[in-house]
Subunit: 259 residues, 2 copies
């Protein structure tokens, strides 16, 4: 069954969606059948892959609440080997809807147990999480095999990390004993900037080998690509952003012994 | 009684905390007695003003739940005329704790009814909101006179705006008929970058006079200041970030006929 990687950090604007879109696309490029599941009511990952709001009839909300099977909600993107389960604003009422449900933290895990994709099964599922530690993100952590944590190279970003690590440990002790950290990914890294270098050295000192070798540079092509409804790999294949996300895919696939 | 301004946008990382800290400091500099209320479980505004986690005994959580009066939880910052009501991670359980409460959307409004500050009453209260449309942000919108919306000059930022406007209209129709938009503030604006110019022209075309004249440029001094536990006005008074937030304070105080 597919490896499920949650892309999570409750700090806002750290590059979760940008990482989920471009890393999923880079995995697909390497021949891995990949699903991106948009778990954020903002629906940025869905928009960034060109799926308009009016074509999100079935969405992650329906899958989460057990009202539609995943294989009916997921749709093809323009990129071979990359599928999307889109999000819409229904998701913003999920927290309250789940609150009184007995299985409120494991609804997503149960829904992901049955991904059938005809004869070619999925290799990876990436989950783009919203900027909070609410029931949506908890569901992702319970469903996931590993968690990829984008860490913006800024002062406030380090502050939230310990809270996230505590939550991951709590989930491991209660609902998902196999949950592991895929890695901590430094994003929007600007080597001319002292703050970036300081955050990098703090992270590597405190978190050691959890910090991935690949760092994503600040690169305007990454923020332009979503307005053209495509990953940066397709928008500007030679950009520093595209090169970095391909290097990240390679680093992770080697770790998973797929390369 | 003080004017309450919520700084809100469910999109993450758009500059809510940076705006709340620096605008509140600029108001205090202009002689307005100002309170910054940190309503984000991340506690970034509290950290950015130098209030360490161990000195947040009484916090916004206690005030929100009606367990402590505001004037006991608020503390002085190093800046004359600027007070802080700090946040800690207790706030992350507020949503669930409030869920079954009859007055779950008006708890903050009730708590702000009694700000006594000895003989010098407060002129302004700024509320730094978390990146979601959860009960915490709803409480801020119900308690507020106006909402200041930081809008990052990026593609994904525009997408969330319509959802926020819908929520504000809903609150105005149900719980807070006097709620108005203070303004939409363009942040991290980079005039060399097409995307910034495009977001600005889209915003001014669609939102007209709601978009404030002052724009906040991308300026590294703004992101360095929190690591020195002070607003940029004190960290680097001549920086483009400091100049912009002082200009914003002036624009708003003129609008409020205080200048
Ligand atoms: N490496 C980068 N270089 C330049 N811009 C970037 C980079 N990564 C992300 N961005 C831009 O920064 C903004 C924030 O990124 P993104 O939306 O991916 O973060 P997020 O963590 O998903 O935000 P949220 O917390 O709202 O879900 C976006 O406008 C995005 O285009
Ligand atoms: N004008 C600016 N120029 C450069 N950096 C900025 C600017 N405004 C904010 N930043 C930096 O960008 C990051 C995001 O800003 P900030 O934390 O204020 O956003 P936020 O909306 O409060 O985030 P969250 O959604 O997590 O609450 C921070 O590291 C901050 O220091
Ligand atoms: Mg996102
Ligand atoms: Mg903030």
């Amino acid at each position: 069954s597919p490896r499920v990687i949650a892309v999570a950090n409750q700090k806002g604007g750290v590059g979760k969606t940008t990482t989920a879109i471009n890393l999923a696309a880079a995995f697909a490029e390497r021949g891995q059948n990949t699903l991106l599941l948009d778990l954020d009511p903002q629906g940025n990952a869905s928009t960034g892959l060109g799926v308009l709001p009016e074509s999100r009839d079935l969405s992650t909300y329906d899958v989460l609440m057990g009202e539609a099977p995943l294989e009916r909600a997921m749709q093809m993107t323009g990129i071979p080997g990359l599928w999307l389960c889109p999000a819409n604003s229904d998701l913003s009422s999920a927290d309250m809807a789940l609150y009184s449900n007995q299985n409120r933290t494991s609804m997503l895990r149960d829904a992901l147990q049955q991904p059938l994709l005809g004869d070619s099964a999925l290799d990876y599922i990436f989950i783009d999480c919203p900027p909070s530690l609410s029931l949506l993100t908890i569901n992702a952590l319970v469903a996931a095999d590993t968690v990829l944590v984008p860490l913006q190279s800024e002062f406030f970003a380090l502050e939230g990390l310990s809270q996230l690590m505590l939550t991951i440990r709590e989930i491991r002790q209660t609902a998902n004993p196999d949950l592991r950290i895929e890695g901590i990914l430094l994003t929007m890294y600007d080597q001319r900037n002292n703050l970036s270098q300081q955050v990098e050295s703090d992270a590597r000192d405190n978190l050691g080998a959890l910090v991935l070798n690949t760092m994503i540079p600040r690169n305007v092509r990454l923020s332009e690509a979503p307005s053209f409804a495509m990953p940066v790999l397709n928008y500007d294949t030679a950009s520093r952003g595209a090169v970095a996300y391909r290097a990240l895919a390679r680093e992770l696939l080697i770790k998973h012994q797929k390369l």
